[in-house]
């Protein structure tokens, strides 16, 4: 692909970017370069020109205005047209689309918060590419997560890939979340992705008991490392809800949660220092499940409301109301 050269467009009349209306609201004072590039692009779009020079122009514009979704759509239509013109030749089509993915990787690295990149990529893989591969997708996702381990779009796209490519070997994916949780135990996106993996496994084959026990041990280990961490506690509750007989499983974990809280002192309203407000919340919920321990639950919620997590008083009082 040759580089952008403005002389290739010398025959194109520039479309105006603003109206003739005097005093137009929120008029942007575009730079000359911007006016020229966009002016050419709008003219070419109006003519439905699907040429190489139009394609090169879209690269140039996405470089300076990555959120300009109209240009992404224009580029997609040109690409679609190119793919159609070599529909007889699979190799040519694959080369064309892989080049496009290479280009997209570069744009992605420079624009971590951009929306358009990911939907463009999905459309390309879904509608145009004859032989898409998850192997081609993972390296860029890895780089993006190395840069920002909670990048929402990247996690969402990774999940989309697992579904789109019908991945059934989930061990690699689990190892990946292990490594991210090892480097930041508070990374909720990684914990969330784990839930997605287990739900996916459970859809294809019912999770067997040893896997369930293994995962509960994993969570317990992470909680022991840092007890005051909302991510594994939320995940624990979600995991028990999704894959276990919830009430039994929750009750079984009371002794574990009591390791972080001196529950007897809390019952006597002494409000000692505790290691985890989330452990106390877990205990409150566990005690709520059985009529004989409801009063214990109330004392836990009172402790949360007065000392351990007072900003959430409204929620704790609501929980106490439910117990009455």
């Amino acid at each position: 692909m040759s580089d952008f050269n403005v002389e290739d467009y010398s025959d194109v009349t520039l479309s105006p970017l603003t109206s003739d209306v005097e005093n137009e609201l929120c008029k942007i004072m575009y730079t000359e370069e911007y006016k020229q590039l966009m002016g050419i692009a709008f003219t070419l779009m109006k003519q439905d020109e699907f040429s190489d020079r139009a394609f090169q122009l879209t690269s140039k514009i996405i470089d300076i205005a990555p959120a300009f979704y109209t240009i992404w759509n224009y580029r997609y239509k040109i690409l679609d047209d190119k793919v159609t013109s070599c529909r007889e030749n699979d190799d040519a089509r694959i080369n064309l689309l892989n080049d496009e993915l290479d280009w997209l990787d570069e744009v992605t690295l420079n624009n971590p918060k951009n929306y358009q990149i990911w939907s463009y990529r999905q459309s390309l893989l879904t509608n145009l590419h004859p032989s898409p591969s998850i192997k081609r997708e993972l390296p860029i996702l890895q780089l993006m997560i190395d840069d920002d381990s909670k990048n929402y779009h990247v996690w969402s796209y990774r999940k989309w890939c697992i579904i789109f490519f019908k991945i059934t070997d989930f061990n690699k994916e689990l190892e990946y979340t292990n490594s991210l949780i090892d480097s930041d135990i508070y990374n909720n996106s990684a914990w969330n992705h784990r839930m997605f993996i287990f739900k996916s496994i459970n859809q294809s084959e019912k999770l067997d008991q040893s896997i369930i026990n293994g995962e509960v041990d994993y969570i317990k280990g992470k909680i022991e490392t840092v007890p005051q961490n909302i991510s594994p506690w939320n995940y624990l509750r979600g995991f028990l809800h999704n894959f276990c007989h919830e009430t039994t499983a929750v009750s079984d974990l009371i002794p574990f949660a009591e390791k972080f809280v001196n529950i007897e002192e809390i019952q006597n309203q002494q409000l000692p220092d505790i290691e985890s407000s989330y452990a106390l919340e877990f205990l409150a919920e566990a005690f709520s499940l059985d009529d004989s321990t409801k009063q214990r639950a109330v004392e836990c919620y009172k402790g949360l409301a007065t000392k351990y997590d007072p900003i959430r008083e409204n929620l704790w009082n609501h929980k106490i109301e439910l117990l009455k």
Partner: protein
Amino acid sequence: MDKSTSRIKFIDSKLLGRKRQPTETVVNSEENKEEEPEILIMKEIETQTTLDREETLSKCVPLLSVDRQPELNSQFHRMFLDYPFQNSMPPQMAAMDAGQPWIAYWVANSLKTMDPDWISDEYKERIAEKLSIISPKGGPFGGGMDQLPHIAGTYAAINSIVLCDNINDCWEKINRSAIYEWLLSLKTENGGFRTCDPVGEVDTRGVYCALSIASLLNIVTDELCEGVVDFLVNCQTYEGGFGGCPFEDEAHGGYTFCAVASLMILNSFDKISVEKLMEWCSARQYNEEKGLSGRSNKLVDGCYSFWVGATAAMIEASGYQNPINKEALREYILCCCQTDEFPGLRDKPGKRADFYHTNYVLLGLAISESEFQYRDNNKHSASSILSKPIRLRDNSSNLIEISPIYGLPAKDVEKFTSFFLEKTI
């Protein structure tokens, strides 16, 4: 520069500088107590998450402990908002070139929330005129002149025109049937809406924009809503909040708002676990900063005062306990989201004000000073949520009542929807 060199340079500058190995230190509980007496955490590991949090705490806590009654500096913020309506915008605003209706909505809505008289007839006329430049046929709207129609651009355009009190009959000029046909064409098989055709994302944000537009214009039909409730219900995660896409995308403040507001419009709030949603909303508020975060273990950000605060307000209007501490949220907003040095409102201390944050922080502030209920408890319609000011110990910010579903002044929503009430598609 060839590709590989540029990639290495990028990695050097952007990645290596930020990547930190976790340090396994158990923080001594005694030290911890001295510095931050309210935190009872005994064990923690230093990671990127804790470093980011500490930085935020170090900037917020001093501002929150100032011993004076914080007040909204409305007149000062007005300067920030009048500027883009009275001047051309500098070249760096070209970054918003594909979102021009958003600027109109954020700025006009911020002004009107502070004082309805701050939106002059001249502003209203020019907003209406701007939208007719973007779409001479009255919609659907793109991000600017000649741009493709976009669901978010159309949402922001309709919200902007709601604020204009039908000046010069501008409401008559909206092309409802064209907008309806176009929304139908964006529907996807799984019950979502594509934000733009052919390339655009499909998530709860697109669903919310579509339903907000349609319900305001009275063009909601069974065909338009087919499969939408299922799409939304499947976005609720084990944490209780909602992700952008079905099947376990991470719960997130913005997407949660979009899903919950959509369910309110569809009268299907009872289809989800409200209890889990309450837990999740409440867990967004931190004891130390007092503001709201958008996800578990992420930082507070003023914009979630609306995204999460409005979700909590919708829960309240539906007859449940509001899971948020409004008084504390108000304190975060007034102490941490404004300064005397620069007008406008911001994400958090250390960040610059922008129009997006100014709008959503102000809406969050309005919510923190109001109570919510349905006008008629037997008949729930999206435009009939009443917001009543709470009597405050400190001075109220005197913001007007806003609709938590639409992020617009409640009176304007009522006026606009009654205008289209009798009209058919």
